[in-house]
């Protein structure tokens, strides 16, 4: 009987067979099994024996050796069809989807270098000029005393004159939104990245949930504590099942996060790396925030006030007298 994953045979009832009469009443009977693809042929208080529905498929995909003492001889015989119709298709699905994402990401990355708009460099240049002006004026404040009075006044006028001074120029305030608007490329890039990551994952998640949910795919070769049930047995709510069995949904998640290494083998460092993407995104955000850190208008106002407070005191005032003193000492010393 060929089993088709598209038509879950929910109509097939579960057959629970009571074991030897000497066994105590089983407490595992009470919760109804969630999926109808397994026949629990034998049940005692401590363990379940689950056999596949069709009697002829008895070859086990995984031969469970005797488990830990807590759950002795819990053994599941898995249907070969499960391997053919769930394990392999699921793996292929995830792999192909990763490949697709990879190529889509490369495609988008290749396109995302449009020529920068003409207004942007001009604005950046203006900002750079503003920064330079602030740096120069702070230098003037610090070392202005070494300049003669006219030179100092000339520079001060250049910076803080009533109408023409550099620091009195109207500065176009760039708020956050404008920043984002003037740089649509960054925004688009971010959205593209996010979309190219999110959409396929959502689609794949839906697909897997729809077709491949509720299967036990295999068993990891070591015992685990029941806490791992959440991780390994997603989609199957069966408290009595040995936690070392894993389900299709868990397998999917494992593949999703664990396939990066395989991808790296194929694409070298170009493989998309979700963690790295996230970091890049943050850096981009940081980069976009950084120019905001320099608020030109505020810096100009502050610098204007500070420069206005500075009085010129010529350091070389009276240097002749001091030099004369030095020379006199020298002459006296040598003669």
């Amino acid at each position: 009987m060929a089993w088709c994953p598209l038509q879950p045979q929910k109509t097939q009832p579960l057959r629970w067979e009571q074991g030897a009469a000497a066994t105590p009443p089983c407490r595992h009977r009470s919760p109804p099994p969630p999926a109808g693809r397994w026949t629990f042929t034998h049940c005692t208080c401590t363990h379940l024996q689950i056999r596949p529905l069709a009697a002829e498929h008895t070859s086990s995909t995984f031969s469970g050796s005797g488990n830990s003492g807590r759950m002795p001889s819990a053994e599941l015989v898995l249907d070969r069809e499960v391997r053919d119709w769930v394990l392999l298709p699921l793996t292929a699905c995830v792999l192909l989807m990763q490949l697709l994402r990879q190529y889509v990401a490369q495609l988008l990355a290749g396109q995302s270098k449009p020529p920068p708009s003409a207004a942007e460099p001009a604005k950046q240049a203006a900002e750079a000029r503003g920064k330079m002006a602030v740096a120069r004026s702070s230098l003037l404040r610090a070392n202005g005393g070494f300049l003669p009075e006219p030179a100092f006044r000339q520079r001060k006028t250049f910076f803080v004159a009533k109408d023409t001074g550099v620091f009195n120029e109207k500065v176009e305030a760039r708020n956050m939104q404008e920043m984002m608007m003037t740089n649509p490329d960054a925004m688009q890039g971010m959205m593209k990245q996010q979309l190219s990551g999110l959409v396929p994952q959502m689609a794949l998640g839906f697909l897997v949930n729809f077709f491949f949910s509720g299967f036990i795919l295999g068993r990891i070769p070591f015992a685990l504590s029941p806490k791992f049930r959440i991780m390994l047995q997603r989609g199957i709510d069966l408290p009595s099942l040995d936690p070392s069995y894993f389900t299709s949904l868990s397998y999917y998640l494992l593949l999703l996060f664990g396939l990066r290494g395989v991808m790296m083998l194929m694409f070298r460092e170009k493989a998309i790396n979700d963690a790295q993407q996230m970091m890049q995104m943050q850096q981009q955000m940081g980069g976009a925030m950084n120019p905001m850190g320099f608020d030109m208008e505020k810096a100009f106002v502050a610098e204007r006030q500070q420069l206005g407070l500075v009085d010129h005191r010529w350091r070389l005032e009276g240097s002749e007298a001091r030099a004369a003193k030095v020379l006199r000492q020298q002459l006296a010393g040598s003669s």
């Binding site: 750079a128 120069r136 520079r155 002749e320 007298a321 001091r322």
Partner: protein, 307 residues
């Protein structure tokens, strides 16, 4: 503190290099690294030891350092005029980095060495199209203009750079001051030197050059300011700067001439005092170090009315 430390390291490395016929590759590498760090101009040694390092030990260098050494030695070779060596190194660099600003800069510099300024300029122009704000290439453009003898053009280019992005680049201000001095545009040169004073107020050489420029500009006010700066240099160098002593004397002579012509200004007591003392110091120094030329100095000072 670190500067003096590295200075000692440099001296030690130089001794080691001079001592042995075939220095070890680590010594060679460390020496070149020190020169790079301190931004020294040690052309001959860099060419000599750099060639040794690159010829015999290039495999031992890290790739990053290897190309830095290539650049360093290539530039030194161009300075020294070793065209073949420079060509070889530039070719190597260009083979490794076919498209890169630093590579094009080296190629352009080689063109400049050969005197084919047009090709160099074309190359730089192409780089500037990619990145119009690349300071390295902009400065090379200035150098090309200067190499062609177009001082005014070079000054104009430099002015554009200084007015925009390079307003705090003191090396560029220095270059601009030099250009303007050569062009005899002293007002502009004085402006550039003032900027330099703002950047390095403790360097007597800057004060001296500024005073020279002011003196050359002329006029009573400028002479007085120049005298103040010369005096400042005397104060900073404890009277060891002969040029400053001469400067004070010259300023005093000019001001005295002005006073005689203008019918007596008066109130220049401290000034004439320092000039007299400077003349005395000059005479003493010449008597001590160079007695042969003492009569010449004496004659000059007498002409300036300071003796």
């Amino acid at each position: 503190m670190t500067a003096s430390d590295s200075g000692e390291t440099l001296a030690r490395l130089r001794r080691e290099l001079a001592a042995s016929e075939t220095p070890s590759w680590t010594t060679l590498r460390d020496y070149l690294e020190q020169v790079r760090l301190l931004r020294l101009r040690d052309t001959e040694r860099v060419v000599q030891y750099g060639t040794q390092l690159l010829d015999k030990h290039s495999r031992k260098l890290e790739p990053e350092e290897l190309w830095e050494v290539h650049e360093q030695v290539a530039i030194a070779a161009m300075e020294a005029g070793c065209k073949e060596l420079a060509l070889r190194l530039v070719k190597n660099v260009n083979k490794r980095f076919p498209s890169g600003t630093r590579g094009s800069r080296l190629t352009g510099m080689y063109f400049e060495l050969l005197g084919s300024f047009v090709e160099a300029e074309q190359l730089y122009q192409k780089e500037l199209e990619n990145d119009p704000t690349n300071a390295m290439v902009l400065k090379r453009m200035v150098a090309v203009k200067r190499g062609q003898g177009d001082l005014a053009g070079a000054a104009e280019l430099l002015k554009g750079y200084l007015g925009g992005q390079g307003a705090t680049d003191w090396l560029a201000w220095e270059e601009a001051a030099d250009l303007y001095l050569q062009l005899q545009m002293y007002q502009q040169a004085a402006f550039c030197l003032e900027e330099l004073l703002l950047h390095q107020p403790a360097d007597p050489a800057r004060h001296l050059l500024y005073a020279d420029t002011l003196y050359t500009l002329g006029g009573a006010h400028n002479w007085r300011t120049a005298r103040a700066y010369y005096s400042g240099v005397i104060e900073m160098t404890k009277g060891r700067s002969t040029r400053a002593l001469y400067g004070v004397c010259a300023c005093a002579a000019q001001l005295a001439g002005l006073r005689r012509g203008g019918g007596g200004g008066g109130g220049e007591e401290d000034g004439s005092d320092v000039a007299r003392l400077a003349a005395e110091a000059l005479r003493q120094q010449y008597a001590l170090h160079c007695p042969d030329k003492l009569p010449l100095v004496r004659g000059m000072l007498r002409a300036q009315g300071l003796l």
